[in-house]
Symmetry: C2
Subunit: 397 residues, 2 copies
């Protein structure tokens, strides 16, 4: 596995901090929102004297509560169709090992979450990208683009909705198009919905589990990490109505014995988190998004489509090489003893050249810090020695 372009920057960020610079971390998906008090209380009230293994598929009462949560989200499930995992990461890993064999191909629209490729490599799967376009805000590429690269080895399609890294929220129609495609070619459709609760502008999330007629094809991957700002609990879920997939996935789950017990207890409590919590979080992120995307598009040569979900936006910058630029921000630049850490886009594309002038920005800081970070970015782009203006961006300006 190659080190990701984001990870490579970590030593530079540490050095910058040692030199006394304040670094605004817009590079990671660790939200600063507080974990709901209900969950922290459940941890404090952990009632047992022995911290035991749970069932490999998770605590039954938690799975039943999860089914209630999904029901509130128009997803009808039996609790036995929910397998609790150690974070969304393990849900992805187990789904890939369960659905695919060595050498199978999976199609993923790019830019995509870098670890999809990591888990794919570990499972011996070939990830084939379909490139989505910043000009359309990273909407689903035309289905014909998928069909062009489907081969007899193609066994699945995977998306993240709302999307990490682009923040794009796939529409009901796009999900239905994918449903028809996997039905036609008899493929698995894996959908990572960990950002379900982060949809803006009144837009509704359409879960893949609501598709009819593709029950055997669909696998949903989920996590409490982002939903409740509880990344450290390491509690996710693999969800499907395909019994064969559930049976095989359980065998992988049994090999690692059990998901974390205390995390499950806290996550069970989380199902009672009131709607007001999500309303407040949504209002906060909407504000941040508007601030960041607004400020980005005011910077000369920068273009950032307005995302409708998650807490990321994806911008093109007037730079020669975003990897170099992001490193330079940490190593060479400062504005009033401050700088900003961004995620260069190269790691989100199969062909890193495609992301050469793009970055992902996670708006996981408070509005004041976000504004200061955007000032830094603006100042930095004015003096960056590798500044270039792309023709299309120039046209926009």
């Amino acid at each position: 596995m190659p080190a990701s372009p984001i990870r490579k920057l970590v030593p530079y960020a540490e050095k910058a901090k040692k030199e006394g610079k304040k670094v605004y971390h817009l590079n990671i998906g660790q939200p600063d929102i507080e974990t709901p008090e209900l969950m922290l209380q459940a941890v404090k009230n952990f009632p047992y004297k022995i911290i035991e293994y749970t069932h490999s598929a998770g605590i039954e009462s938690y799975r039943k509560k999860l089914a209630e949560y999904y029901k509130k989200n128009q997803i009808e499930l039996d609790y036995t169709q929910i397998m609790v995992t150690t974070g969304g990461s393990e849900a992805i890993e187990i789904a890939m090992m369960t659905c695919f064999n060595e050498g199978d191909e999976i199609i993923i629209p790019e830019p995509f979450y870098a670890n999809y490729n990591g888990f794919g490599v570990a499972a011996g799967i070939v990830v084939k990208p379909v490139t989505s376009d910043i000009k359309t805000g990273f909407a689903l590429p035309p289905i014909s683009k998928f069909e062009e690269i489907i081969t007899p080895k193609t066994k699945g399609i995977m998306i993240c909705n709302p999307n990490n890294p682009t923040g794009y929220l796939y529409s009901k129609e796009e999900i239905e198009q994918l449903g028809a495609l996997v039905k036609k070619h008899n493929l698995f459709l894996l959908v990572d919905e960990v950002y379900r609760e982060f949809c803006y502008d009144g837009k509704e999330h359409f879960s893949v589990m609501r598709l009819k007629g593709v029950e055997e094809n669909v696998i949903m991957l989920d996590s409490v990490s982002k939903r409740y700002s509880a990344c450290g609990l390491r509690i996710g879920a693999l969800i499907t109505r395909n019994q064969e997939v559930l049976d095989t996935a359980l065998k992988f789950a049994q090999a690692r014995l059990s998901p974390p017990t205390i995390g499950q207890v806290a996550s069970e409590a989380a199902v009672n988190v009131p709607k007001e919590y999500f309303d407040k979080v949504e209002a906060e992120y909407t504000n941040r998004r508007n601030t960041v995307v607004g400020l980005l598009n005011k910077i000369e040569g920068v273009f950032c489509p307005m995302p409708s979900g998650a807490f990321y936006c994806f911008a093109s910058l007037p730079v020669d090489d975003a990897d170099k630029f992001c490193q330079w921000l940490l190593e060479e630049f400062e504005h009033e003893k401050q700088t900003v850490m961004l995620a260069p886009a190269s790691g989100f594309y199969s062909n890193s050249i495609l992301g050469k002038q793009e970055v992902r920005i996670a708006y996981v800081l408070n509005e004041g810090d976000l504004k200061k970070a955007m000032v830094c970015l603006d100042k930095a782009l004015q003096v960056y020695p590798g500044r270039v203006v792309k023709k299309e961006k120039a046209a926009k300006a």
Copy 2:
């Protein structure tokens, strides 16, 4: 992955309970000893408002405390040589993916922990067994037996010390023999030491990390699950002085982001658990072991060597097929409305026929229950329709 013979019995155990039978569970490694109060308090006092990811290799302060724990056990380590994992299971999984490529061979003395094979299969590794013998108490087979099956594809040797499933404690001399062997053939030596604290009769555990001259070859796998009766925390560790292995292992760790945060906080507190805790646990298990092994050897046709470590013993029974017998115990048998659940040994051997007359017994219940369970087993063997007497056992009797 095939379902393990133990897992196959679970529905029969559930049925037996529904029918009102009391089932003594000697089939699993879930200890009944209470988790140290210090750890439960650390959970209750979790000090943060956000349950965040930690560093992928674990919280730095925890890794430093762990280095102190190892130092008390005569193992000198820098904290950077410790990578925290999600349970011992993940330590095994990441070690296998890091050290071996598809098609590589690893030699493991059998009977072995069934999930070693599971993780091996998932990593595309070929597990080659060297059979150890109940007559020697499952001591290390002669080194010549390893050498006979070493091929150019052999890349590692793995043991569990003290051993699950046999309870055998490898001696310093045996560990040194393995050290010399891996040095000679340039192999990795993976040692699972999760039962380190469970050694009896005053015998000392000799950690593989104490071997000199094989620093690049040795990887130690560890977990707090058994040590502190805290299986549900899912906190383990991968430990090595081989920097290349650490670097690659970290990339796998980064893909899954972080081990559970609260589990790490509790495990950091555990390093302060006083020696008295282990003394008490050791006394308790010594007692249980003596009770179970003593009673087993009094049953006609049963042979059980006295183990020196872990909390398992491995017995041969006068039955036609231990898988059938264990199922029959749950399905057909009862003594005063009670029965016993054992782990048939077939799942611990590469060639299941080798375990046909053997079972693993985990002495994880209190002494009173263990005695009642042994009465059940004695009565059951008297009436089991498939009873047979092996010649060697007859000779013993």
